[in-house]
């Protein structure tokens, strides 16, 4: 699956283990939320990085107790029209302070890249190779943002105020 | 969202496949040579669900050329001329039923 991680095309180190399949001895794995919640401690004790695929119709609050021990959380866009994972992403990053890998999976298209980055995703499992290749150009498409999210970009309102202050400071 | 191919197809008489041309939105009709025409008289006629499904499938496959293909009823008069089979198709063929302002 073509992957963009931290702004670059990358090889995926995580292996998705389907429910019922045996877990490998070590190595980075992604498991379903259902499997994880059956016995989170056991999975977390296992050597190798652990990531959880969290469904988009379930409160992320249920995952919060283990967030600081997870290497990755994968959120799901079952269709690109279904925007629930954007809210989940923002809550994980901004409310719960999660700073591990946050991955967008499912129907992930180029035209949602900027929204996803702004919502806090740092890893994108894109549906099309060509979209991954266009990532650099796409991510630079917008330079003005109206609303604050956890991504640290200054909003237009803040930039204007800063400009005002520097103008009035210059005229003093 | 159901694909037009999965939707139930009902034929109650002679029918055609119609769509809108992608680059400019013009009304088009699927013809019998795997193409499209803006002329209703060149539309391929189907009379059974199987024929309709096949014509629709090939139409939908032309995703670059056409948007929103569907099956529409027609009437064929004694002279063999194809006419729109309902008010909606009549409006699509002949344009709005009201007077448009004169283009200055």
């Amino acid at each position: 699956m073509p992957l963009v991680k931290n702004g670059k095309i990358a090889t995926d180190i995580f292996v998705h283990i389907p429910d019922g399949a045996e877990l490998p001895g070590d190595g980075a794995i992604l498991v379903s939320a259902a499997r994880f919640l059956e016995d989170p401690e056991a999975l977390l004790r296992r050597p190798g990085k652990l990531g959880v695929i969290w469904p988009n119709n379930r409160d992320v609050d249920d995952l919060v107790p283990w967030l600081d021990r997870l290497a990755a959380v994968a959120l799901v866009f079952p269709t690109f029209r279904d925007g629930r994972a954007y809210s989940q992403a923002r809550l994980l990053r901004e409310r719960h302070g999660y700073d591990g890998e946050l991955r967008a999976t499912g129907q992930v298209l180029r035209d949602q890249f900027v929204f996803m980055l702004r919502a806090g995703f740092d890893t994108l499992e894109a549906k099309k190779e060509s979209d991954v290749e266009a990532f650099a150009v796409t991510a630079k498409r917008y330079s003005v943002f109206y609303q604050p999210t956890g991504d640290g970009r200054l909003t237009a309102l803040n930039r204007r105020l800063a400009q005002r202050h520097s103008e009035s400071a210059a005229s003093e | 969202m159901t694909s037009p191919l999965e939707q139930k197809i009902r034929i109650s008489g002679p029918s055609i496949v119609t769509a809108n041309r992608t680059f400019d939105g013009a009304v088009i009709y699927r013809n019998a040579s795997q193409g499209w025409s803006t002329d209703l008289s060149e539309a391929a006629i189907v009379r059974t669900v199987a024929e309709a499904r096949a014509l629709l499938a090939e139409s939908v496959a032309d995703d670059i050329g056409a948007v929103g293909a569907y099956i529409a009823p027609v009437e064929i008069n004694d002279g063999g001329k194809i006419k729109p089979g309902n008010l909606r198709e009549l409006i699509r063929l002949r344009g709005v039923t009201i007077e448009l302002p004169v283009l200055a």
């Binding site: 954007y86 809210s87 917008y142 309102l157 | 400019d24 009304v27 995703d63 909606r88 283009l103």
Partner: protein, 551 residues
């Protein structure tokens, strides 16, 4: 008028370039229609019966003359020479070519006009009172807050893929001209006991298949908390709104299914969890936006200028003045409604020539500003009373002085089956016939204020549910039929109309409306008892009887 700065313009241009690339990828086949559809909708591009339809945003219904001229240019260059003003203060072009859209968008972006989020499952145009900033008794200009909301909701990364469309409206006057009670979020601006600005927040209003009047979720949200509170509502909706059934996906359904108390509690919990929000508006930020709104420098003018006294003998002018001219908050000025409902014409349309002419009149008589109302008329908001006679003459020349504002022939209608692929029946010919039946201005004045709303299908873009008389097109055995409702209202006393009986065929609708009007004239308690009040007093029965006695 809000002045775009470089940041606003940059965003528009970036959006235009993005869409240009998306159109290119669609036409080359790199994007399928399924992938492209959502993207084009996010730029207001629909596929309709004959062609694409392009919906351009007019934020809170305010336009400069330069912008109106550019809309005229787009109508001429890229369309068939006319546009249609909508019930959400936007404008629609009906014949646009997809391949030419990026150029049309670039032309509009040059004057600060865009089509972002005029369609799709996102947050749409924040509409307001078309008399904002000039209405007597208005608490403060709601457009400042509309602009804050517009910026906040534009390309919001979290809320661009909602379960369904989301519409806001704001009013700052006791009389609600923005129909806030039938919006997903309605905002009533008012001041608390300390004189601070805030909003009564209502949610869950909407028309369509399952109409609802909005309910109050919080009686007072301080202005500084407006955006954070709205974010809490949107987040609850984004997560819990239904996505399995498009007919049950609006927030009104969620509010209805949870109940307003539970819904309010969910929002409150989310809002509290947000804590000290980066969205909290401090005074500096509000002032920043306010400072970029420019207002006319009004002259000190007399209440009754000579020009007006002299023109008083002209009966035709007087009729128009009585009908289309409204009191301005500044002495010596007036708000002029420009009726886009000529006898026999499609309601809400204007030709490119008319748009150019109105732009020129705005420059001459209205400080270069035009407003668009949700009733599909335009307004010139700053006309000096001394200029009214000259303005009237000029409007008459271009067919825009029909003295029918708020009267029976001032009909609100959706495009209907003539244009729209969702429609069951035509609406424009119905409207045209009705304007012909009630063309006599004396008859219309006698009948008084009466709002007819026509929708060509249950999606209710014509707002028929809240018409004094509502007309809904349905299909019966391949024929066009119409259901008639009466007693609806869209204002602060919003109510849904009641069906009077079985649907009637296309050819009989105008007769039915005439019957209803006859019943009203016969039964009204006083000449100034409005139709909608008479219906409230009498109920539907007397009207039902009159209409269906011989049908």
């Amino acid at each position: 008028m809000y002045a775009y700065d470089e940041l606003d313009r940059t965003l528009l241009n970036e959006r235009v370039e993005e869409f240009r690339d998306q159109v290119k990828r669609r036409l080359s086949g790199e994007l399928t229609e399924d992938e492209f559809k959502m993207l084009r909708l996010q730029n207001g591009v629909y596929l309709q019966l004959h062609a694409y339809m392009f919906r351009v945003a007019i934020p809170y219904g305010t336009l400069s003359s330069q912008q109106l001229r550019r809309l005229a240019h787009v109508a001429r260059r890229y369309d068939r020479g006319y546009g249609h003003f909508t019930t959400r203060q936007n404008i629609q072009f009906n014949w646009i070519k997809l391949a030419e859209l990026p150029d049309a968008l670039a032309a509009l972006a040059e004057v600060g006009i865009h089509s972002m989020q005029t369609s799709g499952n996102n947050t749409r145009n924040v509409t307001s009172d078309q008399w904002a900033g000039v209405a007597p008794g208005e608490i403060e200009d709601p457009r400042i807050w509309s602009e804050l909301l517009r910026q906040y909701t534009t390309l919001h990364p979290e809320f661009s893929f909602l379960p369904r469309k989301f519409k806001f409206a704001i009013t700052a006057s006791a009389h609600d001209r923005a129909a806030i009670k039938v919006h997903d979020i309605g905002l009533r601006l008012h001041k608390n006991a300390q004189g601070e600005t805030g909003f009564e927040v209502l949610v869950g209003g909407g028309l369509g298949r399952t109409p609802f009047i909005a309910k109050t979720i919080k009686p007072f949200v301080h202005g500084r908390d407006l955006l954070s509170y709205v974010e809490a509502i949107l987040r609850v909706y984004n997560q819990y709104g239904r996505r399995d059934n498009i007919y049950k996906a609006r927030i009104k359904i969620l509010v209805h299914e949870l109940g307003i108390e539970k819904f309010a509690a969910e929002v409150e919990e989310e809002w509290r969890a947000m804590g000290d929000s980066a969205l909290t508006l401090d005074d500096a930020v509000i002032e920043e936006v306010r400072s970029r709104f420019s207002y006319p420098i009004y002259e000190k003018l007399p209440h009754m200028p000579e020009e007006l006294k002299k023109a008083a003998h002209d009966a035709v002018f007087e009729r128009w003045r009585r009908n289309s001219v409204f009191t301005h908050k500044v002495q010596g000025y007036a708000i002029v409604t420009v009726s886009l409902k000529p006898v026999g014409g499609p309601p809400g349309d204007a030709t490119a020539d008319q748009m150019d002419a109105i732009a020129e009149l705005a420059d001459k008589y209205s400080f270069g500003e035009i407003r668009v109302g949700h009733e599909q008329n335009l307004a010139l908001p700053h006309v000096a009373k001394r200029d009214l006679p000259a303005l009237f003459k000029a409007l008459e020349k271009i067919g825009l002085a029909t003295p029918n504002v708020n009267l029976i022939s001032d009909i609100i209608a959706c495009p209907g089956l003539d244009y729209c692929s969702l429609a069951n029946a035509r609406s424009i010919p119905i409207a045209q016939e009705l304007t012909r039946r009630f063309a006599n201005p004396e008859t219309a004045e006698l009948i008084g204020r009466l709002h007819i709303n026509i929708s060509g299908c249950i999606n209710a873009c014509g707002h028929h549910h809240v018409g004094h008389i509502g007309i809904l097109g349905v299909e019966k055995n391949g024929e066009e039929f119409y259901q008639i409702t009466i007693g609806g209202r869209a204002d602060e006393n919003a109510e849904l109309g009641v069906l009077i009986g079985p649907a009637v065929p296309f050819g009989e609708v105008a007769d039915v409306i005439e019957d209803i009007v006859e019943a009203y004239l016969a039964l009204r308690g006083r000449p100034d008892e409005l139709f909608v009040d008479a219906v409230k007093r009498l109920g539907v029965e007397p009207f039902r009887e009159r209409v269906y006695a011989t049908r």
